[in-house]
């Protein structure tokens, strides 16, 4: 079950598990556009002052996969679909507001049948509504790694999750929070 991580998900997870894109057992992938957002977006510079330390840990799928004919076609298809202004987010009742990177994430996920990790409400709803994609929030991924015995939970990781609050990260699902408590036998300190 390969999981494609978007920028907000990478920002939440990379400090918890720096090897997530380099060790195949984590089954996590991302794309070049996410790497570029991670390293270049001005607003992340102050919000995530540690980002440069982890930039080398982010390995993208590579041009052959990310820019394949199918992905390019599906990206165009998704853009056309959104630009018809007829597709309404059935959860919020508003039009979908997806950035270029979001559309690429959706195109890659649709092309290769990846699951997606994100906390972006619009992207999440779009993927579920239009492609029936399985979406996992970052805490859900951490739980998966813990279940598989890939990750050992310690105080350092716990403090990173505490930082999610400080950084105003999105709230995680109740079920995932309950599972986290069960798996780590610790209080969940994040949002």
């Amino acid at each position: 079950m390969v999981v494609l991580c978007d920028t907000c998900s990478v920002l939440m997870l990379i400090r918890v598990t720096p090897e997530m894109f380099n060790d195949e057992r984590y089954e996590s992938v991302t794309i070049r556009k996410v790497y570029e957002e991670f390293t270049r977006r001005q607003k992340f510079k102050t919000k995530y002052p540690w980002r440069n330390i982890f930039r080398s840990k982010i390995k993208s799928l590579g041009a052959t996969i990310e820019e394949s004919e199918s992905v390019t076609r599906n990206f165009k298809l998704i853009s056309n679909l959104i630009d018809t202004d007829t597709v309404i987010n059935q959860s919020s009742g508003s039009f979908f507001n997806l950035s270029r990177t979001d559309r690429y994430i959706a195109a890659c996920a649709a092309t290769y049948h990846y699951n997606v990790s994100t906390v972006d409400g619009d992207l999440m709803d779009f993927l579920k509504q239009e492609f029936k994609t399985n979406v996992i929030k970052p805490l859900g991924l951490i739980n998966r790694w813990l279940e598989k015995g890939l990750s050992h939970w310690d105080d350092e990781k716990q403090s990173i999750i505490e930082d999610w609050h400080t950084c105003n990260e999105a709230a995680q699902d109740r079920a995932d929070i309950g599972k986290f408590r069960h798996l780590t036998r610790r209080k969940y300190p994040g949002p």
Binding site: Q42, K43, T46, K47, R73, N74, K76, L77, I78, S79, N80, L81, D83, T84, D85, T86, V87, S92, S94, F95, N97, S99, R100, A106, A110, V119, D120, G121, Q129, E130, F131, K132, N168, A170
Partner: protein, 366 residues
């Protein structure tokens, strides 16, 4: 972009594929395919299946109409504030992030007396005079940045403050669903902002009904109007009289004093004096750079403190009509989205920002 369902029938016929067979291959009912042919847009996963089975491209399925949602001006030849073609895509994407805020709002039109039909120097002076009058500035005083924002409000222009992906652009004008919007780079010093904002305002007036392709001549005209709007002739002549007989260091000192007191850069004033008095020449070196150190960037003006209420009040005072739209829609805006809109995720608590806005909305209703 318009859905072209009829292409499904045409391409199926070409391939000798019945609607029933096509529906079976996609895994939906025959009725579903008929609905798509009649105009219902399929879900994304079925669109992909249609492209695969019928071997058609996304552009076959959607007809391109004239996209009037976001119009970027096709111009920019000014020395520093240049929009290159590759920047236009990035800036259009930036503008696109705000599209949904403007979607169901109606835009007003520019007052007819402000519309310009020719580009003569006389017209430039007349329109500058009208713009100054609109914000009631005395005839001998240059416009400062707060007055420029008042002018934007007067022209029903939305000012949106953002971190630009392009450096040294300062500000650019675009139209989103007929709304006049000027994006302002948060990193811009307030002294650097006055002239570009006035320049963009002139574009707004000129392009009220339709986004025009702007040529060099148009850029020059906008520059002239912006300069006359910022600096009245009496102000220019007053300074010229004071410095004309002085040596260059003293000329610079006087110019610095005027600039510091009246909030403008030195370069603009020298350019205007040169335009009026061709014999005048003065090299001002790094004087402007030093002067600007005494003035904040527009981002710093907005976030003088970490106080949420103060930030929102600052935003509202500089961009009241855009702020009104945000208040209208605040219930539908997530904390994350608000953080992106304001570019403040890194230093303000977005829960408090949203709560404060809801409070402001309640007060406004009363």
């Amino acid at each position: 972009m318009k859905w072209e369902g009829s292409i499904i029938k045409k391409k199926s016929d070409e391939r000798g594929l019945s609607i029933t067979k096509l529906a079976q291959q996609i895994g939906v009912s025959r009725q579903a395919v008929n609905d798509w042919i009649k105009g219902q847009v399929p879900k994304g996963l079925y669109l992909i299946a249609l492209c695969d089975i019928l071997d058609i491209s996304p552009d076959d399925l959607f007809m391109k109409g004239e996209d009037v949602t976001i119009q970027m001006p096709v111009y920019r030849t000014r020395r520093k504030a240049k929009i290159k073609p590759e920047h236009e895509v990035q800036l259009a994407e930036l503008a696109n992030e705000y599209k949904n805020l403007f979607r169901d709002k109606s835009a007003s039109t520019i007052h007819p007396t402000l519309k310009i039909s020719n580009r003569s120097p006389e017209t430039a002076k007349i329109i500058a005079c009208k713009l100054r009058k609109a914000v009631e500035i005395s005839s001998d005083k240059p416009m400062d940045y707060e007055e420029v924002f008042r002018l934007l409000e007067n022209l029903d222009i939305h000012a949106i403050f953002r971190d630009f992906p392009v450096s040294r652009l300062y500000a650019f004008y675009t139209r989103i669903f007929e709304h006049r919007v000027v994006f302002v780079d948060l990193k811009t010093n307030v002294l650097d902002l006055i002239f570009p904002l006035l320049h963009e305002s002139v574009h707004v007036i000129r392009n009220d009904s339709k986004m025009l392709i702007v040529d060099d001549e148009e850029e020059k005209f906008c520059d002239i109007v912006a300069s006359y709007t910022q600096f009245p002739e009496t102000y220019i002549e007053q300074i010229y009289e004071m410095i004309v007989d002085l040596d260059p260091p003293n000329q610079i000192n006087i110019l610095k004093q005027f600039s510091q007191t009246n909030h403008h850069a030195i370069c603009g004033i020298i350019k205007r004096i040169k335009d009026n008095h061709s014999e005048f020449d003065l090299s001002y070196g790094g004087a402007d750079t030093n002067l600007k150190k005494n003035f904040p960037k527009i981002g710093e003006v907005l976030s003088k403190t970490d106080d949420v209420r103060q930030f929102l009040q600052n935003y509202q005072s500089l961009s009241p009509i855009f702020f009104d739209i945000l208040l209208d829609k605040v219930e539908n805006l997530t904390q994350r989205k608000l953080g992106e809109i304001f570019c403040i995720e890194s230093y303000l608590d977005m829960v408090s920002v949203r709560d404060e806005m809801l409070q402001m909305k309640k007060l406004r209703a009363k």
